[in-house]
Symmetry: C2
Subunit: 119 residues, 2 copies
């Protein structure tokens, strides 16, 4: 079946969550949102392109920071309402300069920081 970004299920704001996973390590790096056009752009350019809800604009990951996400494989889930992008990540994925945004764990009722910002 040929893929059409319009055949995904978007929320009321026209967005779908996209999980970015490091293709080599398997680490989950971040989750952000895409609209149909950013899905299309991601596939066309090979550069993972989200939709920034705060800026209401396309967000080519790494465009300003240099921390680019190159698309290796794009997957969709059974309900067609969530995407998984396997990526090659340059440097940190997180705006805090950490490799992954998921650097805080909940252990014994406490928040524990699992990783430090990269040099």
């Amino acid at each position: 079946m040929s893929f059409d970004p319009n055949n995904l299920k978007y929320d009321a704001a026209g967005l779908i969550p996209c999980i970015a996973q490091d293709e080599a390590s398997g680490e989950v790096l971040m989750m952000a949102w895409m609209n149909a056009q950013s899905v299309a752009r991601t596939l066309e350019t090979g550069k993972v392109t989200y939709w920034s809800r705060s800026r209401q604009a396309f967000w080519v990951k790494g465009e300003s920071s240099g921390h680019v996400q190159s698309l290796v494989d794009l997957r969709l889930d059974c309900d067609r309402d969530c995407l998984l992008a396997l990526v090659h990540q340059v440097g940190p994925a997180c705006h805090t300069n950490r490799r992954s945004c998921f650097y805080t764990a909940v252990r014994d009722g406490e928040e524990v920081e699992l990783m430090k910002p990269m040099d």
Copy 2:
């Protein structure tokens, strides 16, 4: 800092997305939604407990199917608006009986099925 489920950022419906990742293989299994109470229940019981948007009810993963998700580690992202649950998954995570919900890839404009239902 002590963790309080009410200090996460929920959407207008009071929900936060939670990504489930296989703790051993690193495979991303599924994404579903939680409210503050299902986050608390997940931590209390060690059984990953989502909020079913369709049924508007708690959804203890595997309660009816037996395909339980045992919580290994719960993480939150930098914006506190997405969760990552590292889990031990019994059997398939997907209702289609596949190990992961992300069994469809987009390659050269076509949807490609990557895995078959488990026996």
